[in-house]
Symmetry: D2
């Protein structure tokens, strides 16, 4: 049984793990003030080509979203997100638990567009409803699509016009940046959004996300929020070391590229066999639609998520690749599918 269920089935990229091992006995400061966290911040700033940001390392993605958003907003302010947005659909009301409403806008491709934001703003104009203040987007999105530079610029423009904050959830930013369709650089992102995070967990780390705060007014006292919400690890070195390794050379993007390459093999093979997709997703998550009996046979050798019922005979599944996905396994998957499809 081989799993294509998600991008967090295995542990860490071997280079990361090796660094954890070789530094294990060094004595470090606690709480994210160690030399590795400091070095990792410097390395990321270099890659961002932007020195005017604050960077904090946080164990997980939901935690990053909730701490950032709760620290950025006043009690009456709300988020705008796509209805597929992770904070709306997959985080057990984590944002609401901090007191803030998430206004969900229907989107077919997982992306929130400037017209969605405008619509939300226009329908929230007095004190009997919440005040939209933060626009939440994911790149890549929860269904594998990615934002273009044009789309991000349009979002920024509408945010600037209406005094909104633009926040990007980058749990799968590595894969997004390495997509063949991507035209955004890390520098672009740091200039176009007010805060974003660079996902480690789904891009080769054991755990950890790097929150990048770009807008000055959002930076103050952020470490208090980390501590208050339980995100300040005593052995913060664990996060710093991993991001040093991801960013000191090019590992972060190499991992994204590998995951995408493996997804491309799957995508090309599946397309050649004549199958369609729920959505065109040029990243490490693909959503092919198969007849149910094909899925039953695939299940004998692979695990994956059942995404959505299409009709009585067809179902959409999700296949996800990662740094650890093996080339021979995805080739074999396509071969298997070919055999199954012939019968």
């Amino acid at each position: 049984m081989y799993s294509l269920k998600n991008d967090y089935s295995e542990g860490a990229h071997p280079k990361i793990l090796e660094k954890i091992v070789t530094t294990n006995l060094e004595q470090c400061e606690g709480y994210g003030e160690d030399i590795y966290c400091i070095e990792a911040r410097a390395l990321i700033k270099e890659k961002l080509e932007n020195d005017n940001v604050d960077i904090h390392f946080i164990p997980g993605g939901t935690q990053t979203n909730l701490i950032a958003i709760a620290s950025f907003l006043r009690p009456h302010e709300a988020c705008i997100a796509a209805n597929t947005g992770h904070i709306f659909a997959n985080e057990t009301g984590a944002i609401e638990c901090t007191g803030h409403k998430v206004i969900a806008m229907n989107s077919n491709d997982g992306k929130l567009k400037s017209h969605h934001v405008l619509e939300a703003v226009k329908s929230h104009t007095n004190e009997h409803v919440v005040k939209p203040k933060l626009v939440y987007i994911s790149n890549s999105t929860e269904i594998g699509t990615i934002y273009t530079k044009k789309e991000l610029k349009e979002l920024k423009a509408v945010c600037d016009e209406h005094n909104l904050l633009l926040f990007m959830d980058g749990a799968r930013l590595g894969s997004a940046l390495c997509s063949q369709e991507n035209d955004l650089s890390l520098n672009d992102i740091s200039n176009l959004v007010h805060a974003f995070y660079i996902g480690g967990t789904k891009n080769g780390a054991l755990l950890g996300e790097a929150l990048v705060i770009c807008k000055d007014s959002l930076k103050e006292d952020f470490r208090y929020h980390l501590k208050q919400r339980g995100a300040m690890l005593a052995k913060g070195r664990l996060l710093g070391i991993q991001f040093v390794e991801l960013f000191k050379d090019n590992l972060f993007l190499e991992i994204g590229q590998h995951a995408n390459d493996m997804a491309n093999i799957l995508r090309n093979g599946i397309s050649e066999l004549g199958y369609n997709y729920l959505v065109n997703s040029p990243s490490n998550q693909i959503f092919p639609i198969f007849p149910n009996d094909v899925i039953d046979k695939l299940k004998e050798n692979y695990s994956f998520a059942i995404w959505k019922n299409i009709d009585d005979e067809n179902t959409c599944i999700r296949l996800v690749t990662s740094w650890a996905t093996k080339k021979d396994m995805v080739i074999k998957f396509v071969e298997n599918l070919r055999c199954i499809s012939k019968n």
Copy 2:
């Protein structure tokens, strides 16, 4: 420069790290439902000699406290803690941030006694003040003292009488259980408190605490709270693997014992030189009082926390030992102190 500043300066115990490395490429379920988390739960239940508990692995201590307490209490209910209690004194209002007041009782030795609880209950008897509902204790305490079985039984009795929950923060439970003065077993604890956590971070793990919920009514839906507060790691295996290693043989207690042994060497040496302590702390944290010029000289070779000003000429410092503290270093510390003291 050698650090005796805390018990989280180094990484993980080598056995734990090795297990992380050797299992790295295995594909596991996410979110704490992997085989290692399952195995770790079984192993801990064995050591507890108590099968009727629920066990959850959580990245850090503050997070464990806040999630457990927020899930246990209704909005109007409050905690009772010693004024030195971690949730009152060191967690940036994490409990208040979830909506609950912490009623602090003054205690000289870091321990909350049954009479403190009774006093808090008696001064909170109507709806114009919060309703005390949860008694928070730490074992060992924040100043290194430990609870006796008698004290814990008395606390349980007053809790039972007043329908209160008894919760033990076990960030340093390993050291407490290995103290020469300890008479509590893990089984005792699981029978006397309604929930507690077994600290990994300060006892040899990279990160991670094992929350043990003993009282049935507190168990329902706990995983929702983990997710909602951002504590459910995608690669939950990372926590499971470490607790397997800590509990499959006797590593958890071996680490506590080593830390205590190192503290004993320090304590005996310091006492022999005629110094006093802020408090008698029979665990891995000791609080000697030194003349300020002695401290200045110690600072040349050691880092440690300045704990409390005693008078114009004397100050209390905190020395902490861990799994990683080296015997030759603590012997050398005592030697150094002897030399300094002679001059």
Copy 3:
């Protein structure tokens, strides 16, 4: 200029005001423990024909909703409401501010049906999403429709099956109960929902709502929540006196009947002139659709809410009647409309 904008433009029904005046100098207990609150509770229980309920008086409707819901739910639990539901659409995220998500279901007539509840339950089945726990309905709804006994029984059945709480917002319960289409009694309601409130503010009081808690497990410690959220008035008598007056004879229903009678005059007159409605609303709120130039002329003499743009030439407005609406004024409104329509 005459206002048909809402049912809170005037002060209190004269009988209520008179009682406030005549009791003004009596010395009473504070905080809702006075003889009038006690009497009012007894009178309401009589009308409910149900002695097994707890009754609390709360200044306003949003406050009642948020305190009740926050006291009933654990942090991971959510509400289900119609997308027009007051807690979703008109309370500035008051429920989210207490930490709870509101799951909105699209409904054409403002009513949440059992199939909506079922759909919400079926799409929320694991700990990565909130757990639906409370079903919020309004009677009459925000667009003037009312629940039938059959609908309420079906809702109760689905709630019972899925261990959900059924909560009714009765801000306009007086009008609902007096509707020609109503088949529910107060007794029915107290048997079919777990908690509900009887609106005073929109039914002749200066302010005040009576929260009725029917389910035993929801009753405990409720006064703590009142105090904690700022709803326990020092001069609680003010609320008690008003509800005594509303319930000692039949004033509560007389007011609802009068409001409905006035709405009927409007409805009949408007219908006779051939106009349509956004929705069939058999209570004190009606939603006629008029050509824009008709609306412009009506505006010269009446104030009302513009509800919804229908098309380029037509708009829906909201007309609301109350205890204070004068018969000659609504007759005159219809006359005016007739004149305007002829030209």
Copy 4:
């Protein structure tokens, strides 16, 4: 039985009630935007001799405190208050329920002094503890003492130096301002604090407090918070009308003066009989210490609060006067006491 238990035993001052009656049938805007609220704001600004403030009317005191404080603070920020402060001691954790810790400083006379503030600031200097941000004081305090201009200036100075907000709870501001020992004017207060409220409930109104926001940055979007926390009454006129009546002439201070005069009669009489006080309180609350048998006899004719046990034979009680306290009753109380004391 005559009650000296508190200043909210009776209803409203007759002039206020009369105004409510005479305006009852007027149609007004809802939600605090009616002509009476507008007029009341203008009148209060006149009395403040300060036009640069925002004024909001809120049903109760706890509600005012919690909404103001929650809207002013970010999640990691805390209040500093005297241990007798209403938000610490009498509001069921209302502030903590909004997520913020209250740091309590021991004070003998109910007043928070600048040295208390400084002490709190100095002991909260890193992100492992909350960040003190708002200084909460009550004037008069919960034990009847009042602030001098000098004390208030010193508090403001320390607040300015440490970037803290100064907030005054004026539930009993009327009595404070009319105290023989008072040297503060409303104008002084509006210049020295960043926000405060003028209590109506305990100064002759049926209910209602007027929150005055002096600091510009605290004003934005405040009405959203009112609505979100359930404090925006539909018939907001009820609050506006009362404050018009309190401030259009001099009624607010006349009431404070009457209450103080009645307290003076009690105080002088009790002192003449040789009794002592818990604290020197020059306002409408006094705290005499009586032998227990004297108290038992007083109880036959008067109700009052038992405040504090002094020793085995003596107890401190609280006597409170108000607009409604009758001169002949307090004279009679002193007579009664004299008789009791003689025997």
